[in-house]
C-alpha cells in the first residue's frame, strides 16, 4: 500500500452529493427525456413508421442509459461513503490500539442509505401530451384540397395516395427534436460538468492509490456520459431534419395544390359550356398528370431522406450501461471496494 492521505469527512460529503444531488439530476433528466421524446400520433406517418419504431427503441435505450448514470452516481456515492468509513475505521483501530476511544463508524448499509438510494421512486407516468393540432389541421386542409383535386381530375389520385402515407405530426417531431437537443446539451454542459466537478472536489484532500483509481474511473465515466449526451443531441438533430423535410413537403403540396384546385374548378366550370368538355378534358388530365408527377417526385425525395434519418438513428447504438458499469465482484452486487484498493483488512 502506498503513501496516502485522506479527509474522510470530505470524501463522505462529496460522495453524498454525488449519490443524492448529482444522481437525482440524472434521474430527473431521464424522466424529462422519456416525457419530451414522445411524438403524438400520427407520429412520423405511415411511410416513415419504420424510422419511428427505431426512434422509440433508441429513446428507450438512451433513457435507460441516463437512468443508469443516476444509478452509477448513487453507487459511487455509496462507495465513497464506505471508503470514508474504512479510512476512519483504520484510524479508530490505531486509536484504540494505543488505549484511546474510537469514534463510532457506520456500516455499508448506512453509507448506502445516505446516498439517497431510497429515493429511487420515479414517475414515468407523467407523459406530456403534445398540442400539435394546428399543423395537423393544416395538413388535413391540404389533404382535403388534394382530394378535391383528385375528384375533379382522376389522374391526380396517385398524388393523393402517396401524400396520405406522409401524414405526420411535424410540430410534435419538432418539439421532441428541440427538447432532445436541449437535454443532450444540458447533459454535457451541466450535469456531466457537475459530476466532474464533484468528483474532482472529492479528491481534493485525498491522496493515494485509491484516489488514483477513483480518478481514472471518474474520467472514463465522464467520457461515456459526454458521449451519451452527444447521442441524445444527435437524435434531436435527426428529428429536426425530419421535421424540416415533412413540413416542407406539406408546404410544397399546399403551394402546388391550391392553384391547381382553383384552376381545376375554373376549367370544370368552363366545361359546362356545351362542346367545351371535349377540348378541355385532355388538357385537364394532362395537367393533372404533370402535377401528380410533381407530387410523387417530392414524395420520393422525402422518402429517401427518411431512409437517411433511419440510418442515423439506427447508428446511435452503444451499450452505455455496460460501459458505465462499475467493476463489482462482491457478493450479490455488494461493492467490495476492490477497485479502490482501500485495504483488505478493513472490509
Amino acid at each position: 500500500m502506498g503513501d496516502f492521505a485522506v479527509d474522510p469527512d470530505d470524501v463522505r460529503l462529496h460522495g453524498r452529493t454525488l449519490g443524492t444531488t448529482v444522481a437525482d439530476d440524472y434521474a430527473h433528466k431521464a424522466d424529462e427525456i422519456a416525457r419530451d421524446a414522445v411524438v403524438e400520433p400520427p407520429g412520423f406517418g405511415i411511410a416513415l413508421s419504420p424510422a419511428e419504431a427505431i426512434y422509440i427503441q433508441r429513446v428507450e435505450f438512451l433513457v435507460k442509459d441516463v437512468q443508469g448514470a443516476a444509478d452509477v452516481c448513487r453507487q459511487i456515492g455509496a462507495k465513497l461513503g464506505v471508503v470514508a468509513d474504512q479510512y476512519e475505521r483504520a484510524e479508530d483501530l490505531h486509536v484504540s490500539g494505543f488505549g484511546g476511544t474510537p469514534a463510532s463508524v457506520s456500516g455499508f448499509a448506512d453509507a448506502y442509505g445516505r446516498t439517497g438510494v431510497a429515493q429511487l421512486a420515479q414517475d414515468p407516468g407523467v407523459l406530456a401530451t403534445a398540442a400539435a393540432s394546428i399543423t395537423l389541421v393544416e395538413i388535413g386542409a391540404i389533404l382535403g384540397s388534394m382530394s378535391a383535386c383528385a375528384a375533379l381530375c382522376p389522374t391526380f389520385i396517385i398524388g393523393v395516395a402517396g401524400a396520405v402515407l406522409f401524414v405526420a405530426n411535424p410540430v410534435g417531431i419538432a418539439q421532441a427534436g428541440a427538447d432532445l437537443i436541449r437535454h443532450g446539451d444540458q447533459l454535457q454542459k451541466a450535469l456531466n460538468a457537475n459530476f466532474d466537478k464533484i468528483c474532482s472536489a472529492a479528491t481534493g484532500t485525498w491522496k493515494g492509490q485509491g484516489k488514483d483509481s477513483f480518478v481514472i474511473m471518474a474520467t472514463k465515466l465522464k467520457a461515456h456520459l459526454d458521449e451519451l449526451g452527444a447521442y441524445i443531441h444527435t437524435l434531436g438533430e435527426a428529428l429536426h431534419s425530419l421535421e424540416i423535410a415533412l413540413s416542407g413537403l406539406w408546404l410544397a403540396l399546399g403551394a402546388m395544390t391550391a392553384p391547381f384546385l382553383i384552376w381545376l374548378i375554373a376549367m370544370r366550370a368552363a366545361e359546362l359550356v356545351p362542346g367545351a368538355a371535349v377540348v378541355l378534358e385532355p388538357i385537364i388530365e394532362a395537367t393533372g398528370a404533370v402535377v401528380a408527377g410533381s407530387v410523387t417526385t417530392i414524395i420520393a425525395a422525402v422518402a429517401s431522406l427518411g431512409g437517411l434519418v433511419l440510418a442515423v438513428i439506427n447508428g446511435l447504438a452503444k451499450d452505455f450501461l455496460k460501459l458505465m458499469a462499475l467493476p463489482d465482484d462482491g457478493v450479490k452486487g455488494t461493492p467490495d471496494l476492490t477497485e479502490f484498493h482501500v485495504g483488505e483488512n478493513f472490509a
Binding site: 431534419s241 392553384p259 391547381f260 375554373a266 362542346g275 377540348v279 417530392i298 447508428g315
Partner: protein, 132 residues
C-alpha cells in the same frame, strides 16, 4: 381563415372562368363552300347554328347543294374548333392573367423542395460522419 390573397386569387379565377364560359357561349366559327354560295356558322361544340344560302343555289342540283353545304359546315366547324383552341390556350397558358400557372407552380415547388431535402441530406450525412 381565408387569407386575403387567396380570396383575391379565387375571385380572380372565378371571374376568369365566368368570362371564359360567356365567351364560349358566343364563340362561333364560320365557313363557306368554294363558290361562296353557302355560308355556315357553327358553335363551339360544332353544332350548326346558322346557314345562309345565296339565291343562285336555287338553280343548283340537289347533289351539288349537298356538297356545298357539307363543305361550308365542315369549314365552319373547323373554324369554331380553332377559335375554341385559341381561347383554351389563353386559359391554360395565360399565367399572368390568372396570377399563377398550376404546372409551373408545381415544378417550382419540386425544385425548391429538392434544394431543401439536399440541405438536410448533407446535414444528416455529417451527423453520420460525426458518429463515426
Amino acid at each position: 381563415m381565408t387569407d386575403p390573397d387567396v380570396r383575391r386569387l379565387i375571385e380572380g379565377m372565378a371571374e376568369q372562368a365566368n368570362r371564359f364560359a360567356a365567351s364560349m357561349q358566343n364563340l362561333t366559327g364560320e365557313g363557306a363552300d368554294d363558290a361562296g354560295l353557302v355560308r355556315a356558322t357553327c358553335g363551339a361544340s360544332g353544332r350548326l347554328v346558322d346557314i345562309e344560302l345565296a339565291a343562285e343555289t336555287r338553280r343548283m342540283q340537289t347533289y351539288e347543294l349537298r356538297e356545298a353545304i357539307l363543305a361550308a359546315v365542315g369549314r365552319a366547324a373547323d373554324a369554331a374548333s380553332a377559335n375554341l383552341a385559341d381561347v383554351v390556350a389563353q386559359l391554360t397558358q395565360g399565367a399572368d392573367a390568372y396570377g399563377t400557372d398550376a404546372v409551373r407552380q408545381a415544378r417550382e415547388q419540386v425544385a425548391q423542395y429538392q434544394r431543401l431535402v439536399d440541405a438536410q441530406r448533407d446535414k444528416l450525412e455529417q451527423l453520420r460522419v460525426n458518429l463515426g
